[in-house]
């Protein structure tokens, strides 16, 4: 029996007024796969994330999460989704616990369920001891950990991360990259990770290179290297995006 992809994008296009931001995107991500979305600034990564999270609606194409259409079955589709946005979306004046309780309430978890899930996710990230601290007191890396824990509280099947390591120091960055790859493997999560940073790509990852709203290459790391006739991801990226910076 063929299993449905966790995230499926079909013929997706989107325009701001007359300006095309995304043009006929097609790709899918299966459970347990970590897919890195590479693209220079303005490639359309954030627009794509806004469409998958239903902040915008596209008139062309289709987005499905675990088989649920984001336009027709919005709530079922969104219940499968965990998101870490590029900007911090935590309430600085509330504690870690209060921020997480807010999220569990939005997803309909009871206080008892919330307590169990919060403890599980924070312990995995070594943040449980700091649950009473205000977000303002945490450093950037720890805030990101809290956001990842929050995105997982309702046990989503798909995890979207929009450049989650921007502005972090190297050890924090590496720890988060490692943790997310571990999650994909152990929890069978489908991960879509938008990134600027080529060293965040693992050899077993899938890649999508997005440039000016179009997919220039997709597949495993080797597929992308072959498509661009390069030996290194960095060179492949430059040749596919005509030398633009990530």
């Amino acid at each position: 029996m063929k299993t449905l992809p966790a995230l499926a994008i079909e013929n997706l296009s989107f325009s701001y007024g007359g300006k095309k931001a995304l043009d006929q995107l097609n790709f899918s991500i299966n459970a347990g796969e970590c897919t890195v979305l590479l693209g220079p600034n303005g490639a359309g990564k954030s627009t794509l994330f806004s469409l998958i999270t239903h902040l915008y609606d596209s008139h062309e194409g289709r987005i499905q999460l675990c088989g649920f259409d984001i336009k027709q079955q919005t709530r079922l589709a969104l219940s499968k989704l965990g998101v870490v946005f590029q900007q911090t979306t935590l309430d600085m004046d509330l504690s870690v616990l209060q921020n997480l309780y807010y999220h569990t309430a939005l997803h309909g978890l009871s206080r008892q369920q919330a307590n169990v899930r919060i403890q599980q996710e924070l312990e995995r990230l070594n943040m449980y001891e700091r649950r009473f601290e205000k977000i303002r007191q945490l450093n950037g890396g720890h805030r990101r950990r809290v956001e990842i824990a929050r995105a997982l509280l309702h046990k989503p099947s798909v995890l979207l991360l929009d450049e989650p390591t921007v502005g972090l120091d190297v050890p924090s960055r590496l720890a988060i990259v490692e943790y997310v790859h571990q999650l994909a493997e152990e929890e069978k999560l489908a991960v879509l990770w938008a990134s600027h940073l080529i060293d965040e790509i693992y050899p077993e990852d899938h890649l999508i290179v997005l440039h000016k709203g179009q997919i220039k290459a997709k597949g495993t790391v080797n597929d992308v290297l072959d498509a661009s006739q390069s030996t290194q991801i960095k060179d492949a990226f430059y040749s596919l995006t005509q030398g633009e910076q990530a």
């Binding site: 954030s46 999270t53 915008y56 709530r75 998101v83 509330l94 807010y102 309909g108």
Partner: protein, 267 residues
């Protein structure tokens, strides 16, 4: 999706808003200082300049301070509604609005919960204001303090929905100054909050007509009557209709395919 999910989400949103309000002491104090300055300074200064006839719901001659108290209650709710909309623009710029919008509940429900939360905060402020006003010898019948509650809920929802609608149009925080100049001040000054309609008519029939059709005037009159244990049906209906219209427009404004979110672009 069961009803418990809606219930928990609504209380999650209201609880967060109330908690934020009580922990932000400066916001609490500034929300109270504004109407109190008007009451203690402006009203005292104008007491001699303005003579007030006996008009319903009042049954005797009243001091100007007594007249403007319901107007200042309206002011608290008007500023609170706009403050909520300001915080939504801020939340959108900062991204935390996205957390709310990607949760698996209908958008209208999320916006309504947000509105209820803001209204709850404004009602807290109003009761503290009324408590201070009581010590300043502004007394209403005790039943009035109960009757005013449903009126405050409706007026708070109407003014909050207006703020919500505005927030769907405003892209950046900087544009919010325009809201102050073009919405809050005209709404407040062109209303019955500070002077009765008949007094305004004496100087300009046109202005008094504008004030009559201003939803803020109707909300203030509804509060004024409720504070004296009376029900102003016309004001109540007008406020209710204004709430429905503003809310419907705000829901369209936040609709991902039809609203301003798309036209504004970004990302």
């Amino acid at each position: 999706m069961n009803l418990m999910h809606y219930w928990r989400a609504m209380w999650g949103i209201i609880g967060r808003e109330l908690w934020r309000f009580v922990t932000q002491r400066e916001r609490f104090i500034s929300a109270l200082v504004r109407p109190l300055v008007w009451l203690f300074v402006f009203a005292a200064g104008f007491r001699a300049a303005l003579g007030l006839a006996i008009t319903p719901p009042y049954e005797t001659y009243i001091l100007y301070e007594v007249y403007i108290t319901p107007g200042l209650i309206g002011m608290i709710q008007l500023f609170n509604g706009m403050q909520s909309s300001l915080s939504m623009v801020y939340d959108r710029e900062m991204g935390s609005m996205r957390i709310l919008m990607v949760c698996p509940l209908p958008r209208w429900f999320l916006l309504l919960s947000k509105l209820l939360a803001g209204t709850g905060v404004s009602i807290l402020q109003v009761y503290v204001f009324l408590g201070i006003a009581w010590f300043y010898d502004i007394h209403a019948p005790w039943q009035g303090y109960l009757w005013i509650l449903p009126a405050l809920v409706l007026s708070g929802l109407m003014l909050g929905a207006l703020g919500l609608l505005l927030s769907s149009f405003i892209k950046q925080l900087e544009n919010f100054a325009g809201v102050m100049n073009f919405v809050i001040f005209p709404m407040f000054f062109m209303s019955t909050a500070l002077y009765p309609l008949w007094k305004m008519k004496e100087s300009s029939a046109f202005l008094s007509q504008l004030a009559q059709y201003n939803p803020f005037s109707q909300a203030v009159e509804m509060i004024r009557f409720a504070l004296y244990g009376q029900f102003n049906q016309q004001a109540c209906l007008y406020t209710l209709v204004a709430f429905v219209v503003f809310m419907a427009a705000a829901i369209v404004g936040y609709n991902p395919s039809k609203g301003m979110m798309v036209k504004k672009g970004g990302g």
